[in-house]
Structure formats: C-alpha cells, structure tokens
C-alpha cells in the first residue's frame, strides 16, 4: 500500500507545483501594470532606469575639480578584461616628500562589460557606474576615455 500513497503523493505534489507556476504567470497576464518594457525612443523624456542600471564608469569630481583617486590601481587589477589603464605620477608634498598620485585614468568603454568589479575594488569610492547608455559613435577611438578632468587633483585628506 505504501507505494500507492507515494504514487498519489507524487501526482498531487506535481499538480500542485504546476498550478503554483500557472498562478504566477496568470497573475502577470492579468496585471499589466507589472510590465517592465519601456518604449525606448518614444519615452526618451520620461525614461526611468533602475537604480542599479550600469551604463559606463565615471569618476566623481566635486565643485573644486577634485577627485578621490589615489592612483592605487586596484581597479586596474580587478578589471577582468583590461578596460582600465592608470598612469601614475609622483607629486611632491610641501614637506618635500614624493607621493604617488593619479596622472591619467584611461577607460576603454569598448572593452567594458559593466561587471562592476572596479567599483567594488576602489578603496576610496572615486569611481562609480553612471546610467548613460547611449554610447554609439562613428569612430571607435572616441570610446577610449580619459576619466579624470584636466587640471583636477586629489581631494585633501584622501589616502
């Protein structure tokens, strides 16, 4: 008799789990406000991107044209496909000591897979993911970007 009860349990359990799935799809079918599709070129003005959407890497600069990048190359090491290249220089501090600093932050957008590893690796939160996704250009070389603004320097107190 035991095999019969397990058999019936199998059947009922199967039916129950199938109905569970159908309930969810049925809910989506009847609730159209859940639809996440955006009619992209038509709704350019009121386009709403999710908070965690990743479009490109940018470097944050404050109003004094200062960034938080120490040139530690943690992001360059974290990048799985060589998207980031950091060129460092040596600043001379008022005490006359040499200090490593950022010269150029080169970012190859054409190689980037938006994996977010560089942002997680950054110890000073100098870079972040922006939401701009309209990257098409006619010339590939335009996709190689310099992220630190010209004349910018490291913010006071960031180590």
């Amino acid at each position: 008799m035991a095999f019969l009860t397990t058999y019936l349990k199998d059947v009922l359990g199967g039916v129950r789990s199938l109905l569970k799935g159908m309930k969810l799809t049925g809910y989506y079918f009847t609730h159209h406000k859940e639809i996440i599709t955006q009619q992209y070129p038509d709704n350019k003005a009121e386009l709403k991107l999710p908070e965690r959407f990743r479009g490109e890497v940018i470097m944050l600069h404050d109003e004094k044209n200062e960034h938080a990048c120490t040139g530690c190359t943690a992001c360059e090491l974290a990048c799985p496909n060589g998207t980031i290249k950091i060129i460092t220089k040596f600043d001379v501090t008022p005490e006359g000591k040499k200090k490593k600093a950022l010269d150029t932050f080169i970012y190859h957008l054409e190689l980037c897979t938006m994996c977010n590893l560089c942002i997680e690796a950054c110890p000073t939160d100098a870079i972040k993911m922006a939401q701009n996704f309209e990257h098409s250009v006619y010339d590939r070389s335009k996709l190689t970007k310099k992220l630190n603004n010209p004349g910018s320097k490291i913010r006071e107190g960031v180590e």
């Binding site: 199998d10 159908m22 989506y28 079918f29 009619q39």
Partner: protein
C-alpha cells in the same frame, strides 16, 4: 432567426434551383474548400498574434506593438515576409519527400476538419464513426513530421522527428482512453450524437470527478500530440535548433508553422466537442429559463469561445512550464497518465452502467 444553418440551407436551395444537382454539388464542394482554406489562413494570423501577445504579457513584456494598431498587423507582415522568401531545398535532401512533407502535414490537419461541428447544423461530414475517424487521422500528422526529419538529411531534424514519433505514439494512448470514456458515457461514436447527449449539461459536469480527470488527461495528451511546450521536444529550439523543420524556409516553413496552429485549433475543437458540449450552450438540467437565455447566444460563438478558452489554457501551459526531457516525457505517459486513465475509464464505465451521471 439568422443562423449559419439557415444561410447554408438557403445557399444550397438557391444553387440547386439555379444549376443541375451535379454542378450544384461541385460548386458546394468548391465553396467549402475555399472556406476551409480561408479559415486556415485566418487562424494562422490570429493564433500566432494571440500566442505572441499572451506570451508577452505572461513574461511581463508588451509584445508586438508597432505594426498596425496595437501590433495587430504584425503577423500579416510576417506572412508577407515568408511569402517573399526563397523556399530552399538543401543539396543532400531527398527532394521529393522534402517538398511533400509540409503538404502532408497540412492535408492531415484539413482532414480532421471534416467531422467537426462548427455550429448547430453546420458540419461537413457527420459520419457514424466520427470520433474514431478523428483519433485515427490525428495520429497521421507524425508521418509528415517523420518525412520532413528524414528527408532533410540533417541530424537535428532526424532527432527531432524521432522524438516526435515516440511522443505521439505514447500520448495517443491516454488521449484515446479519454476519448473512449466520453464514448462510453454517450454510447455513440457520432459527433452529432455526442453533442446532442450534452443537451442538459456538459459531460465535464455531468460525469462527476472521473470526467474531469479524463478532461485533464486529454488536455495534457493533446498538448503533447501537437508538439507544444512543455512537450516540444520535436522542435526544442535550445538543443535541436528547430528540430524537424530546421532546413525549411519560406512558404514551406510557413506551412509547418500554420499546421501547428491549425492543429491546436482542431484538437481544442475536439476537446470542446467531447467535454464541453461543442456548440451546445451552457445548459443546466431543468432550469428552463436559464437554458433559454443561454440559447440566445449563437451556437457558433459558443463553439469558438470554448475553443479559444482551451487554446488560451494551452498557451498558458507553454509559457509557464519548462520543457521535459525525453525520459521524463515517457515516464509521465507510461507511469502516470496511462495507469490513471485506465482506472479512470473503469470508474466511468461503472458510472455509465449504473446510470449515476446526471
């Protein structure tokens, strides 16, 4: 009252008065053939659009919404595109079988159309073994699929065709047993008798729980027989590219595509005829007033409504369940559906003999 029955009768009378009987009969054949072909074309357009919209809403998408109002002309555009394309025949293919296969599939679909009653008094051929004819002919479509798979000279196509063969051979059994359970209750194989026996209620409700189980098994079996997900191993896009119709293009591909949707329509029509009373409006026993109100809705609308409800359920299956592996597929049939439907058939026979049904 204007009904399809009256219209066909007046056309028949007019043709017979205007021409001699032989010419009138030939003209009637022609009209019926034209109606069948245009029904197929319209079904293809409507059902493909319905499938795309239903799938989109179930996957939290919008679906086609650019061509025509609300995307309603999308399938017309697709058909135009397919009609323009070249129907390529591969070099290594068996040319005759390769080109014959789509027509076999579509011809089989047309043959099952014959005994289906579309509305009150509107049936092409009310033969006395209608249900047997339907079960016999519906299993022929596998020959077209095997033919296509074999003639393509392509391993994916052959694998898909073989899977489809195994699948249809196994699922015929439980579909047949479910059909037999209704035949047992009715005592007749004639489609019109089966519909007439549901005058005071559909078999789904009159036959208690066993009829309901038979209905569910029949729906599962016809989903498998029409090669639709979760039983679409014959196509299995992710593993066999497109299965038996990998090598087809242009209108020949369109015929396979059309046959799939026409087959769904037809098997849902059979399910509606057997379990939901065909064109018979919803009647409940002796509630005369209620039955009269229901009679005001035309019988053809009842039939189409039932069919489209069932089609929706089958689409719902497709966009909810993952595809079964071939061993799971055969397990489901031989270990679950077949034993259950045999026991169920015994129960239904008991009900029919004792007259326990309403």
């Amino acid at each position: 009252m204007l009904s399809i029955e009256n219209i066909t009768h007046s056309i028949d009378a007019w043709l017979n008065s205007a021409f001699n009987p032989t010419v009138a009969l030939l003209l009637e054949y022609l009209i019926v053939g034209l109606f069948a072909i245009s029904l197929f074309a319209i079904l293809g357009l409507v059902l493909v659009l319905m499938e795309r919209k239903v799938s989109a809403y179930m996957q939290v998408r919008l679906g086609p919404n650019r061509v025509g109002p609300g995307g309603s002309l999308q399938t017309v555009a697709d058909t135009l595109k397919l009609a323009m394309k070249e129907g390529l025949t591969p070099d290594g293919a068996d040319k005759f079988l390769f080109n014959l296969a789509p027509y076999v599939v579509i011809a089989v679909a047309m043959m099952i159309l014959a005994p289906i009653a579309f509305a009150k008094g509107t049936q092409l051929w009310d033969l006395n073994i209608g249900v047997l004819y339907i079960t016999a002919v519906s299993s022929l479509s596998v020959i077209g699929i095997l033919m296509a798979g074999w003639a393509s000279n392509n391993k994916y196509s052959l694998l898909g065709a073989m899977r489809s063969g195994a699948q249809i051979v196994s699922y015929e059994l439980s579909a047949g047993l479910s059909v037999i359970s209704i035949v047992v209750l009715t005592g007749s194989l004639r489609i019109s008798d089966i519909i007439a026996s549901q005058q005071d209620g559909w078999w789904l409700f009159k036959g208690h729980v066993p009829a309901f189980i038979a209905f569910i098994i029949f729906i599962i079996a016809i989903t498998a027989e029409t090669n639709r997900a979760p039983f679409d191993l014959a196509e299995a896009e992710s593993e066999l590219t497109a299965g038996f119709h990998t090598e087809y293009s242009g209108m020949k591909f369109a015929l396979f595509f059309l046959a799939e949707y026409v087959n769904i329509f037809i098997v849902c029509g059979i399910a509606a005829t057997l379990f939901l009373g065909g064109w018979m409006p919803l009647h409940i026993g002796h509630w005369t007033a209620f039955n009269h109100v229901m009679d005001y809705i035309p019988s053809s609308l009842w039939f189409l409504g039932k069919i489209f409800t069932l089609i929706f359920v089958i689409m719902w299956f497709r966009w909810t369940f993952p595809r079964l592996r071939i061993d799971q597929l055969l397990n489901l049939e031989w270990k679950y559906l077949l034993p259950i439907s045999i026991v169920n058939l015994l129960l239904i026979t008991l009900i029919a003999i004792e007259g326990w049904h309403f």
